[in-house]
Amino acid sequence: MLASLYVPGDSWLHRLDARVKLLLVACGLALIFAVGSVWTMAALVMAEQALLLSAGITRLRLGDVWRVLWVTMALVFVLWVAFYPGEGAAWLAWWRLRLTWDGLARGAVVALRLAAVAFMLFFWLFTTAETHLVLSLQWLGLPYAWGLTLAMALRYVPTMAELFRTTSEAQQARGLDLSHSGPIARAKAYVPITIAMLISALRTATSLAHALETRAFGASLHRTSLQRLYLRRVDVWCTVAIVLATAALLYMRFVRGWSATPLGL
């Protein structure tokens, strides 16, 4: 079981200043929402994979992300295609369903955008140690407690996944049948798991709060920090490169009409 989302390492992406990474993610997200062509979106997702691999994130870990993602992506794609017919001639029309190349491509753009956003966030989460994560948010002007809350929430994502697995095993051992067909019967079957999980989670949250307080969290308003964020020369160059590249791509997109339509280049 995973202990946290962070993958320790010493790659270029790990060493990049947490604030520069935050900028990279912000610019990346701007691009992801700006471009509208299925080809560009696919290229963006591929580029993200390549960069994460180059930062020492294993295929196994990327596979884990895909395993969670593809269900949602498939669902989004199907819904989009079913409800938005798209423009141009339909090459299949059946009952109320009209399939056009434009509609399919739009569905694919939305589904791929989901993956692109997820991996963009993982740039930051997979390669930034918790302390640096909190420090970079603090640098943005957020209160320390907010940053810590976010870091702790992230830290508990895998724990909650593990808790879900154990509770579901415990209820199945008492004869709970999860193989129901039909969405309502299925949802009902998950009630005993969800409630047991919630109670456990609240218990954990309470003891975590107590643990923080007994260690005098919040006692002093002006915190000093043992670790600092340092901007190295390469971080500065990266910042310049990120800003220029984003500006150029956004110019191409909005002034030159690059990658504006689902099937265009």
């Binding site: 808790l163 051992a173 008492r174 004869g175």
Partner: protein, 279 residues
């Protein structure tokens, strides 16, 4: 009587990237009170989850009461195998203790009055009558533990798998809990107890299995088991203190297989009287 509660043959299991069982062979005879010990991570829980089908072997097979677990759903196996999880909070979800105990029997699709009968029996059997209408989540840890055990008891399984049921319990509660299972054992139930507490193992079990790195490396009655000093040291275990004391006093005539304080006192009194008569 040679009826088998469970049979493991060449069982291998691995979690993604982590081997957990590496060839487990053993038989659990019906009616046995068997303990399973070993270091953290040696594979005890993994083995136990094969008994109620939560895990299925990657190779080899597991038979429970003569049927291969691969052909049965967890829900089906729950009729015969009761699994008490290490943490009671992983299963408690009802608004009243009574409903918590009824959850299992209802899942077995028993008629209403049979469910009621079993709930009443479990409430009385585990001294929970006074708490029947209280929300179980607000009870203390010891009581939550009892609720989770009573909930499994209400399903009337023939085999009980207990995964560290006494962890975090005080001495008295631990003994009271295991006394319930000793009674069930005397009524013919099969018990597999996972524990890190060698005192309890020596006191309650009639057979001890030792796991190390995914294999069963020792299998003996407690007396003989705790006599294997070298093997125990290798597994970072040590016999109950009273037994170590008896082993030290071996040359004075103390039987080295003395497992409990009571047995030690009896043997000591006998030796004392003999010495008195002689001297």
């Amino acid at each position: 009587m040679a009826e088998l509660a469970a049979r493991f043959r060449g069982v291998h299991y691995h979690y993604p990237g982590v081997p957990a069982l590496e060839g487990v062979d053993f038989e659990l005879r019906a009616g046995e009170f068997c303990a399973l010990v070993g270091q953290n991570g040696s594979g005890k829980s993994t083995l136990a989850k094969h008994l109620n089908g939560l895990l299925k072997p990657v190779s080899g097979f597991v038979e429970v009461f003569g049927r291969d677990t691969r052909s049965q759903a967890v829900g089906e196996l729950a009729r015969k195998v009761g699994y008490v999880f290490q943490n009671p909070d992983h299963q408690i979800f009802s608004a009243r203790v009574r409903d918590e105990l009824a959850f299992g029997p209802r899942n077995l699709r028993l008629p209403h009055d049979e469910v009621e009968r079993r709930v009443d029996e479990a409430l009385d059997g585990f001294g929970l009558r006074a708490y029947a209408d209280m929300p179980p989540a607000t009870l203390g840890f010891g009581l939550r533990r009892l609720v989770s055990v009573a909930a499994v008891f209400a399903m009337r399984p023939s085999l009980f798998v207990l995964d560290e049921p006494t962890a975090e319990l005080d001495w008295r509660s631990a003994h009271e809990l295991l006394d319930h299972f000793r009674e069930l054992h005397q009524q013919g139930h099969t018990i597999l107890l996972i524990s890190h507490d060698m005192e309890l193992v020596a006191e309650y079990a009639e057979r001890v299995l030792l796991m190390q790195a995914g294999r069963i490396v020792a299998d003996a009655p407690p007396g003989a088991f705790f006599g294997q000093t070298a093997r125990l040291r290798e597994a970072h275990l040590s016999p109950p203190q009273v037994m170590r004391l008896a082993q030290r006093l071996g040359d004075l005539g103390m039987p080295p297989e003395t497992l409990t304080v009571d047995a030690f006192a009896d043997a000591f009194a006998r030796l004392w009287r003999e010495a008195h008569h002689a001297g």
